[in-house]
Symmetry: C2
Subunit: 230 residues, 2 copies
């Protein structure tokens, strides 16, 4: 599949690496290729600059947001939540029309220090804002509830855990589910929460997630829903 990833941070890179391993053709989109390529040193997560990363991931093509969205049959939103709507507008509404958009972003505001607050919550969610802004795009929220390395390597966790789907289009959710299964998720552990408004639940799990990161001193964890009688 031709997949366009929007966002070149740790989430975009991690998803791109996995998709290339799985044999997909991957375009990763950034606002400004020159600026992105000019960066040197490590990022906040200790990852190499994109320039270095691209040398080790030569099958991934660096594109503008618009080019990545235009050439992708399937789109991944891996941008920072506070910039997602702008980035998707730069990608171009026409380039997103009738396509599935896997939305991994979280509306986290780090500008007032740690832990971050949410820019949207309670009666709305970023996923809903994206769906309202791009009504012809099939938005499916998933993977936003755990750290990037575990999104594509759930088997690193010592036991099965859960991942969630939120979206209005049943077929689009099925396609995302297939992708998640190819990442190593067991189908029975993927919980379809319902329509896109249910993303209010999965996005608002972030406030406990960021605090658990501090308490556990590691981001390498995930939630397992344990049910009586199952």
């Amino acid at each position: 599949m031709k997949i366009g990833i929007l966002g070149t941070g740790v989430v975009g890179q991690t998803i791109a690496e996995k998709l290339v391993q799985l044999g997909h053709q991957v375009m990763i989109g950034t606002r400004d290729k020159q600026t992105t390529l000019a960066k040197t040193g490590k990022d906040n997560f200790g990852r190499p600059a994109l320039n270095e990363w691209l040398k080790n991931n030569s099958k991934v093509q660096l594109k503008t947001l618009s080019e990545a969205a235009s050439s992708g049959e399937f789109i991944v939103n891996a941008t920072s939540g506070t910039g997602s709507i702008d980035a998707l507008k730069m990608a171009g509404e026409n380039n997103l029309t009738n396509k599935i958009l896997l939305d991994i972003s979280n509306p986290l505001d780090f500008s007032k220090g740690m832990p971050p607050t949410l820019t949207i919550c309670n009666t709305d969610s970023l996923a809903e804002q994206i769906q309202r802004t791009f009504p012809k795009t099939k938005v499916v929220k998933s993977l936003n509830t755990l750290t990037a390395m575990l999104m594509t390597n759930p088997g690193l966790l010592p036991e099965p855990t859960n991942i969630f789907l939120n979206g209005n289009d049943a077929n689009a959710k099925e396609e995302v589910k297939k992708l998640l299964v190819s990442f190593g998720w067991k189908e029975k552990n993927i919980i379809d929460m319902g329509d896109i408004t249910t993303a209010r639940g999965t996005e608002q799990i972030l406030p406990i997630w960021v605090r658990l990161w501090g308490t556990l001193q590691t981001p390498m964890f995930n939630f397992k829903i344990v049910v009586v009688g199952r």
Copy 2:
């Protein structure tokens, strides 16, 4: 221990039953004893009216909020979140001074239909509001992340799950931890998240909790935090 429970709903009743079993002296407080005793039929959870319940739980003493708080050495807030501050004011600041208040309430607003929204979130929490309103009370938030029957019977779950503590006073958290252990929680599964502001995380887990209730068609579930390498 003499324990005053504020709130006669399903949470107050369930906690009261367990505390009596454990040999504590339990006072359960309500705003207006006459009104509460006059209720008949089943409540929204299919539980008998308090009048009936008291016949089967004759060791529990029905009191006003103020009486229950005054005679309790340890206080439990089991009122609805939207009414908690008012109920605690009726209980009386002096009756709460220097005491531990186990806060189980959630700021859920059911007035606009299901699923409920939060009346407080993101940059504040109900637990913080209570702590600010009653600065001489040692507020510890816990047990608000699962259904009443599992609060006092964690062993009904098919495997160990987690419960959280939020509060400013380390000794108060230790006392609450002892109570939770007496309820059946394993000490290693009780996660101390930090000061009272960390209740923003545990209260904001409710939006996914209420939606999981719908998706799973049962409230009998809990969260387990699975960590790589542990």
